[in-house]
């Protein structure tokens, strides 16, 4: 326990005017310090793999098909109800793919629950942060707007696996 000290004003402080100049000297010293303001559109924040930007869908190595098998886990995990998936059958060996995969970016809160829930490494948070358009409809992103080659999301994937390397000590059920 420490009792905070209530200080009493000294004569100089009560006279007020000398204190004004002392305070101004503190304030004006800031002029010569390094500027902390960022000129936003020119100077951007540095994004890293840790940055949780907007979710994006991962393309397979053929750069045509999504890794998604439309299991719907991200749709269920989403606390903002931003994801809509319609699944369809496909001739490929994975048998199911999304016919429609939409993320309502106006609803998305960038929490990253979809990325955690996905059992197929099909959705990851990118480092894309900026979001602006002229209509609400344009901000409901479909597969065309969401898909990214795996290489573009690789830093985030590496970070995700690296930072989630756990439960190593005991042998698991596998």
């Amino acid at each position: 326990m420490v009792i905070v000290k209530r200080k009493e004003l000294s004569l100089a402080e009560r006279l007020y005017l000398p204190e004004v100049f002392r305070a101004l000297s503190i304030t004006f010293r800031a002029i010569f310090k390094k500027k902390v303001t960022r000129q936003y559109p020119e100077e951007r924040l540095v994004t890293t793999a840790v940055t949780r930007g907007q979710p994006r869908l991962v393309l397979l190595d053929d750069n045509q098909h999504l890794a998604c098998v439309s299991c719907g886990l991200c749709e269920i995990a989403c606390p903002a109800y931003a994801i809509t998936i319609d699944g369809a059958e496909t001739e490929r060996c994975i048998e199911r793919e999304p016919k429609r995969f939409e993320i309502d970016m106006l609803r998305c809160i960038l929490c990253g629950f979809c990325e955690e829930a996905c059992p197929k490494d099909a959705i990851f948070m990118s480092d894309e942060l900026e979001l602006a358009d002229f209509s609400r409809a344009a901000l409901i992103y479909d597969i065309e707007k969401l898909k990214r080659p795996r290489a573009a999301l690789q830093p985030r994937i590496d970070y995700f696996y690296g930072a989630n390397d756990r439960w190593r000590k005991r042998s698991s059920t596998s």
């Binding site: 840790v50 990253g112 629950f113 059992p119 490494d121 000590k169 059920t173």
Partner: protein, 430 residues
């Protein structure tokens, strides 16, 4: 759930708690001298302060009855930011509520995350690994400093000290840079999960935190140099809003507001959680309980938080590679690489995401947030959705203390009082 019948008595106006909150203070102390020649004296005026007033720190509306500049009656009206968070929790389910806790007291999202997680862990009986607890403590103490900096900046700018606002927000920006590097977001972090934290923190950030914590005491000295001996700050805060020990307890105030009145109560010491008993820190308390004491208590608390954070950082750097998330397949998602290779883990993944169930029962866990005792009370009937989630928001109690403290004082004192009681409407209205 037994005993729920008694709790309603207080709400009906009966003396359920056996104690009625005391009225305004002794008039000789609290009332400002009334000028008999004041031409405004005599006719009472109704004035709405807020809900869009910048000094009310959010959407608080105060219905004031004024006689000249003296406030006769104050009626705070809350609810303008009510989003039904408790009900949302009951309809969303256990894990999906985490992003919503961020938005309760939005100046300290990590603290809300941890409070909610601790309540769920108590209900489920999960033990958080050591490293997970250390990460939580470090992030919570950084959040506490950030929240107190907002208190300092906003209450100073409301009283005319614009420089303070920029100085404190500059330091706060450093904290947000650290939180960004640790959690991926500056605000609304959603970093805590049941059983620990989302991911292990990057060891590369530790240098940034160490640098910040080394600078912090000098920064606080700078704030004190501008405010503590400032005559305007002195005149507007000393003997304003004097909250006695008894009053503070009767109005169930907690946190710096209670400690400012000289009650030594801090949940980090009284009911340690997250391993706070292993850290060396002091609880600052005030003597008189006015706005100035609450200011001094918060300043000292920032110093103590920096102390705790320094100790937590040492523990963090000595526990690299430790577990940060409890290994419990009933509540915690298995690591992704195992999900890809093992059928059982894949089943657990689906089970936890779609249908996370907590055992039937109830749990209440409170943490010492920057505003006071932030408690989460959760009731489970064993299904995947909470039966009840109640949030004990310290801010609501702080708002309650406005009328007895402001009655009989000048209107301009209200600004100092609101600033020093320090509440965030996102939490008050929920």
């Amino acid at each position: 759930m037994s005993g729920s019948t008694q709790t309603f008595e207080y709400a009906r106006g009966g003396a359920g708690l056996g104690q009625t909150p005391p009225g305004p203070l002794d008039p000789s102390v609290a009332r400002a001298p009334r000028d008999a020649d004041d031409p405004l004296h005599g006719e009472h005026m109704q004035l709405n302060m807020g809900p869009q007033h910048p000094a009310t720190h959010g959407v608080l509306r105060l219905k004031l009855e004024l006689d000249g500049e003296t406030m006769l009656k104050i009626e705070p009206e809350v609810g303008y930011l009510h989003r039904g968070k408790e009900k949302t929790c009951e309809s969303l389910g256990w894990a999906k509520f985490f992003p919503h806790t961020d938005r309760l007291d939005y100046v300290q999202p990590l603290m809300n995350n941890v409070g909610y997680a601790l309540a769920l862990e108590q209900l489920a009986g999960i033990q958080v690994p050591e490293r997970g607890q250390v990460i939580r403590v470090l992030l919570m103490e950084l959040s506490r400093i950030a929240a107190h900096l907002i208190y300092l900046g906003t209450s100073a700018i409301d009283q005319g000290a614009v420089t303070m606002f920029f100085n404190t927000f500059k330091v706060r920006e450093d904290i947000y840079t650290i939180l960004d590097a640790y959690t991926g977001h500056r605000m609304n972090n959603t970093y805590v999960r049941i059983g620990g934290v989302f991911a292990d923190v990057d060891p590369g950030v530790e240098a940034l935190v160490r640098d910040f914590l080394a600078r912090m005491p000098a920064e606080i000295d700078g704030f004190e140099a501008l405010l503590s001996g400032n005559r305007i700050w002195f005149d507007r805060n000393r003997n304003v809003g004097v909250l006695s020990k008894e009053q503070a307890l009767a109005w169930s105030l907690t946190g710096p507001n209670l400690r400012g009145s000289g009650v030594e109560f801090d949940l980090r010491k009284a009911q340690p959680y997250c391993g706070y008993e292993q850290y060396d820190f002091e609880i600052p308390i005030g003597t008189l309980g006015d706005c100035y004491d609450r200011y001094l208590v918060r300043i000292e608390e920032m110093r103590q938080s920096a102390r705790i954070a320094t100790q937590a950082l040492e523990r963090l750097s000595s526990s690299h590679g430790g577990e940060f998330l409890a290994e419990d397949r009933r509540y915690v998602l298995p690591p992704k690489d195992k999900v890809h290779t093992s059928m059982e883990e894949l089943i657990f993944q689906f089970k936890i995401v779609t249908d996370l169930r907590l055992p039937a029962g109830e749990a209440y866990h409170a943490i010492e947030s920057s505003k006071g005792e932030l408690g989460f009370y959760v009731v489970s009937d064993g299904s995947s959705k909470p039966l009840r989630c109640h949030i004990r928001a310290p801010g609501l109690m702080n708002v309650q203390a406005i009328p007895p403290l402001a009655e009989g004082r000048l209107l301009s004192d209200m600004v100092a009082l609101i600033g020093s009681l320090d509440f965030v409407m996102g939490e008050v209205d929920r």
